[in-house]
């Protein structure tokens, strides 16, 4: 095992977050940090330490299967103590496959990473965010780092070492890629979020929530069914376990029941307010202020009250 911690993500911005997490592991393990690129150097990926460019697979975009194989070939030879990836959907696949190829453990979607020199520890949400688990894995190990949990590194990695891993044949063929409707805002940096749930009866009605969000100088978010099942909003608007984790100053949940999986993504908000017709909705347990009422009456009332104040 060499004293190296590797960083990889197919997304340059996520890779820069992972690099920040990797610094904590490298520090605890007295290891060197290496920012790994596959097929081509991506200058936007930041991180301290040095670059390692794996050459062989046709790039620049590589599938999780090819990324896992490239990383596995390099890791067998260079034997890093840890390989950290981003917990994106592609990243989870690549990390899991890499761990299975190497026969080592893989910690999923961790934050709060640290190392005692022998292994690494991290924290992750379990049971839909009701419980936080502290997990540990002996080196050598693989982990995925929770997206949004770390700031992006700013340092530019020093000159690249190149390593040829040989050609890699993808068993599957990508036929095409279609962008989902783009998100208008970055929910992670929004100070105010108005979030829509299934209490909204039809897609057109989202307009009144979007207007309220604008009037509050905030952004519009939603529960998972609205983006995934109904497709009313882009995927990156959905908040929760499988979506974005946010911590605005104000989170206003409108027509959201407050299932654990949703609350997992907003429980660190400074103030939570909610509007729901059901006085027993669990969202009120997760709220500072609650209004039992019909969103179709309360939201317009809020708009009027806001307008009167400005």
């Amino acid at each position: 095992m060499s004293g190296e911690v590797w960083v990889y993500s197919e997304s340059e911005t996520v890779a820069s977050e992972v690099a920040t997490a990797a610094e904590d592991v490298a520090k605890g393990a007295s290891a060197q940090l290496r920012v790994v690129d596959i097929s081509s150097v991506r200058p936007a990926t930041r991180g301290s330490g040095t670059r390692l460019l794996l050459k062989g697979p046709p790039g620049p975009d590589v599938s999780p299967a090819v990324a896992a194989e490239a990383l596995a070939r390099a890791a067998r030879e260079l034997a890093p103590m840890a390989v950290l990836l981003g917990a994106t959907r592609d990243g989870r696949e690549a990390a899991s496959r890499l761990a299975a190829k190497l026969g080592v453990g893989c910690m999923a979607e961790v934050a709060g990473l640290a190392s005692d020199g022998q292994g690494m520890t991290g924290q992750r949400d379990v049971f839909a965010g009701k419980v936080v688990a502290k997990v540990r894995c002996q080196f050598p190990a693989v982990a995925t780092v929770k997206v949004g949990a770390y700031p992006r590194a700013v340092a530019q990695p020093a000159d690249a070492q190149e390593k040829d891993v040989g050609p890699i044949q993808d068993q599957t063929k990508t036929l095409g890629r279609e962008k989902k409707p783009a998100g208008s805002v970055d929910l992670r940096s929004a100070k105010v979020i108005v979030s829509a749930g299934r209490g909204v009866k039809k897609k057109e009605d989202l307009a009144i929530l979007a207007e309220l969000a604008t009037a509050m100088r905030g952004a519009l978010g939603c529960s998972r069914p609205l983006s995934s099942d109904l497709g009313w909003l882009p995927e990156e608007h959905h908040i929760g376990l499988t979506g974005v984790t946010v911590k605005p100053d104000l989170y206003l949940a409108v027509g959201i029941s407050g299932q654990l999986q949703h609350v997992a993504g907003m429980k660190d908000s400074k103030i939570v307010a909610s509007i729901n017709t059901d006085k027993d909705a669990p969202i009120f347990q997760a709220s500072d202020y609650g209004i039992v009422g019909d969103l179709y009456q309360v939201v317009p009332a809020l708009r009027r009250a806001l307008a009167a104040r400005r």
């Binding site: 979607e109 936080v132 347990q285 009456q297 009250a305």
Partner: protein, 254 residues
Amino acid sequence: MRIAVCVKHAVDEAELKIDPGGNPLLAGAAGKMSTFDKNAVEEGLRLKAAHQGEVVVFTVGGAESKKTLKEALAMGADRGVLVASDPMALDALRTATMLVAAMKKSGAFDVVICSEGASDTYTGEVPPMVGELLGVPYVGYARKIVVEGKAARIERSLEDSVESVEAPVPFATSVVSEINEPRYPTLIQIMQASKKPIDELSGEETAPAGSRRWVEVLSMSSQPTARKHVMIDGSPDEAAAKLLDALSKEGVLK
């Protein structure tokens, strides 16, 4: 077409009790079929309806896991395989190792279906590991699967895009919830399910000697965020005004 579906008997997160010290009471906690595994079973049944064959459901877990297998059988799966293991002594790689060993004992499969993530642990690691250890192409986060002859077309639902991928059969996949609407078994189906076969394998039969759990859980705790729980009443206009007053006082309204 032979279809394998992996179903997990997950801890029911809503029912899970926490003691006053913040420790989850996992011993004897209520379980249920992992939420999205219902979508995995449903997709298996749809593929069977289109291509004939059989659907075999696999689980690794304690004796309680039989309930989840029975539920999948009631939905329409043909047989079940239970790999006996203490659920507290599992991690993703060990689980995947056992699932794959159990599948290999049951003969070759054309399609292996998991869900994107288990509702209790949500690691999303078991499915790609199963694909890797089986040595078949793996395409995860499927929101649509169409098999024609010896090839499958799969739509992968990613964060900001939908990717269309072609994979040769056999392949392994994980499904997202939007892929289908899982059926509810009827009372008759639930009764008939008790006659369907469930094979049981021991942990030793499916885990190679020396194989172990890699990721260990050091501790678990639950620290719910303290909230004020102020309920605001009055007409919509009164309530709106009161809420804005409160939010201004909190300094969160710019």
